[in-house]
Amino acid sequence: MSNAPQFAVVGHPNKGKSSIVATLSLDDSVAIARTSGTTKQSQSFPMKVDGQLMYELIDTPGFQRARKALAWMQNEAEKVRDRPAVVKRFVETWKDSGKFIDECELLTPIIEGAGIIYVVDGSRPYGEEYEAEMEILRWTGQPSMALINPIDHSEYVEEWRTALNQYFKITRLFNAMTVEFHKRIDILNAFGQLHEAWRQPLQQAVNSLAKMREQQHRQAARIIAKMVVEMCGYVEEKKIGSESNPHSYESVMKENFLNALRKLEKKGRQQVQKSYQHHHLKSEETTFELLGGDLFAMKDWYFWGLDKVQLTAISMAAGASAGLAVDAVAGGTSLLLGAATGGFLSGAGVWLMADKIAKQKISGILPLGGKLLSFGPVTNRNFPYVLLGRAIYHQKLIAGRPHAQRDELQLQQEASSNWLSTLPPEPRKQLDKLCKKLSNQQKPEETQEALSGWICQIFCEIEENKAA
């Protein structure tokens, strides 16, 4: 048998044991329901690094007859030192009898050496009926800690803490539905404090999980960068006859073009979800409509990207620098008129075209006759900002979503200010450069790699800020 620590997650039925296991094991397939007794049999969740077992979480059914079981044990034990042996005898006696099925199932890993993670619901009041099960757990003599899982609210947390402190050395608050990644890591570290021999494997496990998290961020960043580059360069093409009127195709092509972009965004989101091991989020939950409306709802573009004034300012700066080149050629005789004119013309152009997505073009006469119509790529300078804003917000929700959550992904615009305004100056400058390259379709491969690095840096900073 392996020496890796085992932890049996035990408690009253329907107090969120499976939710805690789902969150700690990053497994969104764990059966979780409000119905009590969802878990009928113990289920093991081994944490392995390159095949080497680091620790094992065991989800167990809840106590059903704790009072009766304790009465049996009290009857059997004469001395305090006999208690662990009595618990063991209890399991051996009743294991295949059809009675005490749940108690035998949950006590088996504990008498085999597993640590105890006792779970209670902090949103329900403490009751004396819990004392029998806590007493049984104390009788096992195994290292133990209690987790208060406030399923609906935290009203009774302190009441529980007072009661639990009498039975357990360590008591922690752990909301399986909202907990951040770093808090999951903290809990694993706390498991290590239960027993000296468990500290090292748990530390190793924690380090590996932190590395896995970084890898997930890198993967998500790559997916988003690829998606953004693809979307920014996407062109819808159609061959038509020489006699056909190109304008009659405009609306159909535009619709196809927009749908193709929506599909690309949806595909990217699904891949991001997968990279954070959220395999069971329903497809309806990932549609763009949920993310503050349609991708092409122009009113939202100013929320996700730059507003009209910022867009104009960026374009004026670009126009002015082009104008400066003219001034340089003129050797100063133009009195910086080139810069001023360039800036004004670019700014005015962007102001007027700020709500225009893309244009239709007729690319030319085909070798075998007919014309090639093309729609796209998106020429609006705001598009890369909008895509990135939406993608980063989606990633933030997914990366922070515990695997115990089963409700729909709520993708709504945050009430806070525009995400761009929260960026420090240097990353913002880098972003502006990258977005310019994206808009101009410059060296897409290099831009994709640089963008991926930039996004990953942002993800890591968000994570660090949360931990801080």
């Binding site: 094991s25 409000r34 007794g37 969740f45 081994p46 392995k48 009926e129 690829k226 997968k274 790699e449």
Partner: protein, 494 residues
């Protein structure tokens, strides 16, 4: 196995295409295994090469060598065709029967001016971007003759080379562009080499007289200026090969050649060969050689760049260098236990006690000593409490048994209400108690579960989800005389 850059790119494309069919986890397992064996290989390139090498099958290896041979076949074809064409062109231009003269103007137009024009167009086509004129120029590139040679190659090689030329995938477009230009320059080098060799042979075996003639009024001084201009690359170190005014004047001829032949010095007319060979070298061969090396450099860079930015490459390094972390229940698909009773079938008992007396078993450990609370309970349940018993929760088991015995002794004619905490899930212990009670009394004794929620000693509305839980429990016990009646504050007013 080591790969040339071309082979590496092709094998990468082949492997990535195969991997797209494999599940992520399976890929990670396979690549991590390779990654652990490559622990000492730090550089990305060497890791990539080892990875490709360890996954290459016998078929891959055969195909990679076919690619190399296909590539060589095309290159050889280009050299051969270019050389032959160069030979034929010069042979054609030097058609000399010993009586007339070889026209220098034609030679310079074809071997210098035309070649320079082609070099200029090639450079234009090579410029970054893919405008329509550039694409049109590429259509005339001799590199496109590769199709001709590939016809001689087997199908697999044809497909593979086609792939490298970007015929199927956009990612290969840069490689394809420089590959075509590279072959074109090879053709150009071969052409000029053929031309030079033929020129040398012709000069060696024939006594050729060169001359120049034009309908326009061009003075020998103007021609001299032109030849001096053309001789600029070698005039410093090979002054003998720079045509002199006397040579230019002597070489001029008119259609009515008798007019000038009087002043002709025949030995002078052959002296042009050095100038011509140097022209062909500096304005034909050398630019093509330079362009060929440039294209090779660009092709190599394009291949390395394509490998560097190949989609999925970074993910591959992650798989090679990141441990496989498994945290989920291996191999067991979680099965959500469906409740045995569908929620829609659950109905809350509408029958109340109509203020009849009941025996109340306090399974909730609620404090019933307070009279107002007792009154509130009775109003909520529309019953009157005949007797109260304490059982369950923190009572001893024999107390539960005593309660059952007491109720049994009364003849079990009065309905029994079991007061429970609505928010706590029903447990097996309560099921056992009801079973024992039923066994000790009558199968027709009315037993009602009374879930109640309290806060600060007063009844509050129980959570409907908790009530559903109690109803499910009641149905699961399959007891027709057992029902659930939640106690709601103020229900007597309804």
């Amino acid at each position: 196995m080591s790969f040339s850059p071309l082979q590496k790119l092709f094998q990468l494309q082949r492997q990535m295409s195969r991997d797209s069919e494999i599940a992520d986890m399976e890929l990670h397992r396979r690549d991590r295994q390779i990654g652990l064996e490559l622990a000492e290989k730090r550089g990305a390139d060497s890791q990539l090469e080892c990875w490709l090498s360890s996954l290459a099958t016998a078929d891959d290896k055969a195909l990679l060598s076919q690619i190399e041979s296909g590539h060589r076949l095309v290159s050889f074809g280009m050299i051969l065709l270019g050389f032959l064409l160069g030979c034929l062109t010069v042979a054609g231009l030097f058609q000399y029967d010993g009586a007339g003269r070889v026209d220098l103007v034609w030679l310079l137009v074809i071997l210098v001016v035309l070649q320079q024009l082609f070099v200029l167009l090639t450079v234009l086509a090579m410029l970054p971007g893919s405008s329509s004129p550039q694409q049109m120029l590429q259509w005339f590139s001799p590199g496109r003759l590769q199709r001709l040679f590939l016809r001689l190659a087997p199908e697999t090689e044809r497909v593979a080379i086609g792939q490298l030329l970007g015929r199927h995938q956009k990612i290969f477009s840069h490689v394809g562009k420089w590959q075509l230009f590279g072959w074109s320059q090879l053709f150009g080098v071969a052409f000029n080499s053929g031309a030079l060799v033929t020129l040398f042979v012709l000069i060696a075996v024939k006594d050729i007289a060169f001359g120049w003639s034009t309908t326009l009024t061009v003075e020998p001084q103007a021609v001299l200026q032109l030849t001096n201009f053309l001789s600029w690359p070698w005039q410093g170190w090979l002054p003998a090969e720079v045509p002199s005014l006397s040579l230019v004047e002597a070489s001029r001829y008119f259609r009515l050649q008798e007019v000038v032949t009087t002043t002709l010095q025949p030995e002078l007319l052959g002296q042009w060969w050095g100038f011509l060979m140097l022209c062909l070298f500096f304005y034909g061969l050398l630019p093509r050689l330079l362009l060929m090396f440039f294209c090779r450099y660009k092709l190599r860079r394009a291949i390395l760049r394509t490998i560097h930015y190949y989609p999925g490459r970074q993910a591959l390094f992650d798989r090679l260098n990141s441990a496989i972390i498994e945290t989920q229940a291996g191999g067991v698909d979680a099965v959500v236990q469906e409740p045995s009773i569908a929620l829609k079938n659950l109905e809350i008992s509408q029958r109340d006690f109509s203020n009849a007396p009941i025996m109340l078993i306090n399974w909730s450990n609620f404090e019933l000593a307070e009279k107002p609370f007792l009154i509130e309970l009775q109003q909520a349940g529309r019953f009157s409490i005949k007797e109260t018993y304490e059982a369950g929760t923190n009572c001893q088991l024999d107390e539960d048994a005593r309660v059952i015995q007491t109720i049994a002794k009364t003849g079990a004619k009065v309905p029994v209400g079991i007061l429970v905490k609505s928010w706590e899930p029903p447990l097996g212990e309560l099921a056992d108690f009801i079973e024992d009670l039923r066994a000790a009394t009558s199968p027709e004794l009315a037993v009602r579960l009374l879930p109640a929620a309290i806060k600060s000693g007063k009844l509050t509305q129980p959570d409907p989800r908790d009530i559903e839980e109690w109803q499910r429990f009641s149905k699961n016990l399959v007891d027709p005389w057992l029902s659930v009646m939640p106690l709601r504050p103020g229900s007597d007013d309804e």
